[in-house]
Homo-oligomer: 270 residues x 2
């Protein structure tokens, strides 16, 4: 999906919501757990119910890998089920030496029809480049994450510039791609950092996890993060998909997604 | 596998060789490429032929993921085929927020019988901890990698201490585990760095990729990296497994592995 197409979807829906399919099989409704194809059946119901409120789905590969072969099968079925109108993110946090990263890029962009994959920057340029070589595909590099551990290394100051590591990651990585094929993960739990981040990367799309269960504020994220093309994909996972463990789980998920979307509509119209 | 068991294997074999199963299906011998179970058939032959010269196998998950479901099936069959005498490494470079890293740990340590998994440190302590919670399993954190991109961030100096980022990663991460459950990836292409790294982490095992095709010197790695318990697992992938593309590929792989092992025996006996 191109940036123009993504922005058009956001404008049309008036939403920049990403629904995170962190489908933990132990947390899906009890009535589905014994289903022979439980994870995909659950995802299908969630997708059908939330489609009109979001522009994107993010599949967290860890929850599928941990189910073995059956999990990868559910992942494949899920990504193929998501309609082409929606931006499909593999939240995989991959990254390795060049010839290995090329294989990961092939996995998510050729073998599977994802639009984007999240990538860890620690190994530097040649670990990121192979993902950027695909037309109309996106690399989403970890900038500042939403977890407590982001303080351990990402916020360390560098000697040469007094910049923090994550700022250096943003500045350096920007030169490897363009705002049309590169996004960054910026955690919503530090929304005040967003204002600063927008001075470094005013144009790039940001994938913002951490709203919902992790405590981030959608209002603050939107206040500091929105740019002229929207520039945000705000993800909520557990808060939406596990809104209810009853038979009407999909309906409840839609209600939460609709609430986020309604709030986003206000911020887009300002 | 415990550290005592790993060291005993090394002492018995007089080898600290890891064979990297980076099984790129386009590079396996032509006569195997049309085999319905090509990757596993290739791996099986390589394992049978090299078993006596190495103490460990490293499966690079990227090359299996890129083959889709069939690839994961080959990965599962391969790790189950490796005998319990050999240390099994999932080279997966995973790492995410805590509840997601827990799923990755489950994948490699419960669903699959790996002894160790490689982990990227960028997201900090809570992204690494879930891997360390398993008894007799190992977390191998990226320290200083063997690729050109390692200069981009790993070698940046920090303001507080003038240490480089990778040094800070080593020092900080060491406190999260012990030499019995934590190793580090240190690339062989900068063998001179090993001497310095041994002043920071004298006791930990190091997984050293980069010997062979990437140009690292086994002699230098051994000179600076060996400690009283050996403390090294030196990996060669392409140099061994793709030594020949003829029908005798496994025999040729064994010859290369034997050459590495013979050299290692000398260094262990010094």
């Amino acid at each position: 999906m191109t940036r123009t197409e993504l922005v058009a979807q956001i404008r049309q829906k008036k939403s920049y919501l990403t629904v995170g399919l962190d489908t933990d099989i132990t947390k899906i409704p009890p009535h589905l757990q014994s289903h022979p194809d439980a994870v995909f059946t659950f995802n299908k119901a969630i997708i059908d119910a939330t489609l009109e409120y979001c522009v994107s789905y993010k599949i967290n590969t860890a929850f599928y890998e941990s189910q073995g072969l059956k999990g990868w099968e559910a992942l494949e079925k899920t990504v193929h089920y998501i309609p082409s109108t929606h931006f499909k993110i593999a939240d995989a946090k991959r990254g390795d030496i060049g010839n290995t990263s090329s294989q990961y890029a092939k996995t998510f962009f050729e073998v599977l029809p994802f639009d984007a994959v999240t990538v860890a920057p620690y190994m530097g340029e040649d670990s990121v480049r192979p993902f950027l070589e695909y037309d109309n595909k996106w690399t989403i590099v970890l900038g500042l994450t939403s977890n407590a551990g982001s303080l351990d290394f990402q916020k360390l100051s560098l000697a040469s510039s007094e910049k923090m590591l994550y700022e250096q990651v943003l500045e350096k990585t920007v030169s490897w791609g363009t705002p049309n094929n590169l996004m960054f993960v910026v955690g919503a739990t530090r929304a005040s950092d967003l204002q600063h981040i927008r001075t470094i990367i005013p144009d790039h799309f940001l994938l913002v996890p951490g709203v919902g269960f992790q405590g981030g504020s959608l209002e603050e994220v939107s206040q500091y993060g929105l740019n002229k093309d929207c520039g945000l994909l705000v993800n909520a996972s557990r808060a939406i998909i596990f809104a209810s463990s009853k038979e009407n789980f999909a309906e409840e998920a839609a209600t939460i997604a609709a609430t986020y979307a309604a709030e986003m509509k206000q911020y887009l119209e300002v």
